[in-house]
C-alpha cells in the first residue's frame, strides 16, 4: 500500500505534539519541587531537559512552516499491526497459559501471517523453538521463563 504524504506538515504535527508534551512535563516537574534547595531538587534536571525539548520542538515547527514537499511512505502497515496485536495477545496468554503452549501458538500465528503456508515448516519452527529455549534458558542457564 503506497500513499503520498506531506512530510513537512507531518513535522508540524510532530513538533506540536512534542511541544504539548514538553509543556505538560514542565508543569509536572515543577510539582516535584517542594521548597528545598534547587541545587538538590528532584525537579531541577527534568525541568532543564523538558525546557530544552520545548525549544527544539518550536525549532521543528518553525522549520516545517511554509515549506511543503511531498514524499512517499511505503509498506504494508496492516501486516505490522497484525504482528503487534499478536504480540500483545501473546503477552496476555503468557500470564494465563504455560510458556510452551502460548509460544507455540504465537510462532504459528507469526509465521502464518508472514506468508508461510507449509504446515510442516510452521510446526517445526513453532515446536522446536520453545522447547530449545526452555532447555537452554531454563535448564542450562537457570534463567526463569514467563
Amino acid at each position: 500500500m503506497i500513499w503520498v504524504g506531506q512530510m513537512k506538515n507531518k513535522e508540524s504535527i510532530e513538533g506540536s505534539i512534542l511541544l504539548v508534551l514538553s509543556i505538560f512535563f514542565i508543569r509536572e516537574s515543577l510539582k516535584l519541587h517542594t521548597g528545598q534547595s534547587w541545587a538538590l531538587s528532584p525537579a531541577l534536571f527534568p525541568l532543564i531537559i523538558t525546557s530544552m525539548a520545548l525549544l527544539f520542538s518550536i525549532s521543528l515547527i518553525l522549520k516545517s512552516i511554509g515549506k511543503s514537499s511531498a514524499y512517499r511512505e511505503q509498506g504494508n502497515v496492516k501486516l505490522m499491526l497484525l504482528i503487534v496485536a499478536l504480540s500483545f495477545l501473546y503477552l496476555i496468554f503468557l500470564e494465563k497459559l504455560h510458556f510452551i503452549p502460548s509460544t507455540i501458538l504465537y510462532l504459528c500465528g507469526f509465521t502464518f501471517i508472514l506468508g508461510e503456508r507449509r504446515w510442516w515448516i510452521i510446526g517445526v519452527i513453532s515446536i522446536i523453538t520453545p522447547l530449545s529455549i526452555q532447555y537452554i534458558f531454563g535448564n542450562l542457564l537457570g534463567v526463569l521463563l514467563p
Binding site: K10, E14, L18, F25, E28, L32, Q36, S37, W38, A39, L40, S41, P42, L44, F45, P46, I49, T50, M52, A53, F56, S57, S59, L60, E73, Q74, G75, N76, V77, L79, M80, I83, V84, S87, F88, Y90, L91, L94, E95, T103, Y106, L107, F110, T111, I113, L114, G115, E116, I121, I125, T129, P130, I133, F137, L141, G142, V143, L144, L145, P146
Partner: protein, 492 residues
Amino acid sequence: MIRDILNIIDLNFILLVFAGSLTGLFVGAMPGLSVTMATALLVSVTFTWKTHNAMALIMGVYTVGVYSGAVTAILLNIPGAPSSVATTLDGYPMSKKGEGLLALKTAAYYSFLGTIVGLLVLGISAKQVAKLALAFTPMDYFLLALFGLTTVGSLTSKNFTKGMLSALVGVFISTIGMDPIMGVSRFTYGNINLQRGISIIPVLIGLFGFSEILYQITLNQGKSEALDVNRDKISNKEIFSHWWLGIQSSIIGVLIGALPGAGGPVASLIAYEQAKRTNKKPKVPFGEGAVEGIVASEAANNACIGGALIPMLTLAVPGDAVTAVILSAFYVHGLRPGPLLFSETPEMFMVILAGGFIGSIMILILGLTVAPLLSKVIGIKQRHLFPIVALLCIIGSYAASTNIFDVLLMLIFGILGFLMRRREYAVAPMVLGLVLGGIMDSNFRRAMSLLSSSDNVFGDLFLKPITMVLSALIVISISFNFVSFGRTKTDK
C-alpha cells in the same frame, strides 16, 4: 611481569578461560542476558574453587562477553549490550550489503586489539591512571556525559533537531522512577513497576530489535529472500589498514573505562565521533557501512575492560557493573583489592592479566571461527527468522528482571522505534540519552550542591584542568555539529 604471567598459565588455566569465553560468547550476544548476570552466577558457582581458577573463568566470560555484543549488533541490528550500540550504526548496514563476515572479522580483530591495549595500560600504568580518575569531580562526570550526548551529531546524519529531540526524550525517560538523591518518585503516577525506573534492556531490545522486525515486515511483507552473507572476498589487508585508528580508539576506551560509572557505551560513542572527525573521506560514509565505525566502537568498548579494572584493583572502586561483581569475588575469596593488593597478594594482579590476555586470544579464535558460522543466520528467510528473533526479544526483555512489565515496555518501545524510523528520527540518541541521563542527573546536582557552598565558584567551574578540557571538547563538538549540518544543507 611477562615471566610472572607465564608462570601462572597452565593447561587447566587455559581450559577454564576457554570455558568462560564460550559462555561469554553466548551470553554477551543475547540481549537480555548480560555479562554482569553471568559473572554474578559464576561468583556463586566458583565459591569453593581456588581463586586462580575462579578468576580464569570470570575473565574469560568478561573479555569475550564484551566483544560478542557486536555479533547480534552486526547481524540483526540488536546490540547485545549498550556498549555495542555504536557498532550497529555501520555493522548492520554492512550486513545488509552482504559484508557481514567482513564486519564480524573486523569486530574480532579490533576487540582483540582493544583488550590488549587496555590490559597493557593496566599492567604498566595502573596507578597513574587511577590518580587521574580520582581527580574527576561530579562536575567533570557531568561534563563527560554531556560530551557523550553532544556526539548525537554523529548519530543523526540527516536532521540534528530530530536527533536532539530523540536524545532529550531518552534523558527524560531516565528520570522516571526513584530520584537517586532525594528518594522521591518522579513521573511514576502510582505505578509500582515504574518506581525502579525504566530498565535499559527492554528499551534497547525494543528500539533496535523489535522495531527492526516491524520495519522490515512493513517494507518487505516477510517476502524478502535470504541475504548473501559473504558477497565479497575478505581482505585482511583492508581490515588491518585501520590499525592506527584502532589504537587511538583503544586509548579513548581505556581512559573512559577507568572512570567509575562511565563505561563502554560512552567510550564507544566518543571513539566513533573521534573516528568521524579524523576520517574525513572514508571509502563508505559513516552510518552506511564504514569499516572505520566498527573499528572505533569495538576497540574502545573492549579497551574499557582494562580501564575498568584499574580503579577496581588499585582503589577497590569498581569501574563498571562487571568489575563490581569481580570485586565481590575477590572479597569472597578473602582478598583485598586496593593499594595493598600489590604488596600482599601481587600474584592476583598477574592472574587477572593472564586471564585477560588469554581471553583476548579467545576473542580472535572464537570470533574468527564460531561467529562467522552465526553469520549464516541472516541467510535464513525472513518469514522463518523473524518469529524466532521476536521471541528472543520477548525472552530477553523478560530475563533481565523476570517481570512481564519489561516485556510490555519492550513492545511499546518497539512500536515507538518503528514510528521513529518511518519519520526519520534516529533511535541511537534515545538509547544514549537513557544511558547518560542517570550519570548527568546525579552528578549535575552534586556539582551544583558543591558549588553553592563554594567560596570560589568561578574557579571551581572553569579553572580546573580537567573541567577546562572537557568544556572545550563540548564546545568543539557542538560547533562541529552546527558546521557539518550547515554544510549538508548547503550541499543540498
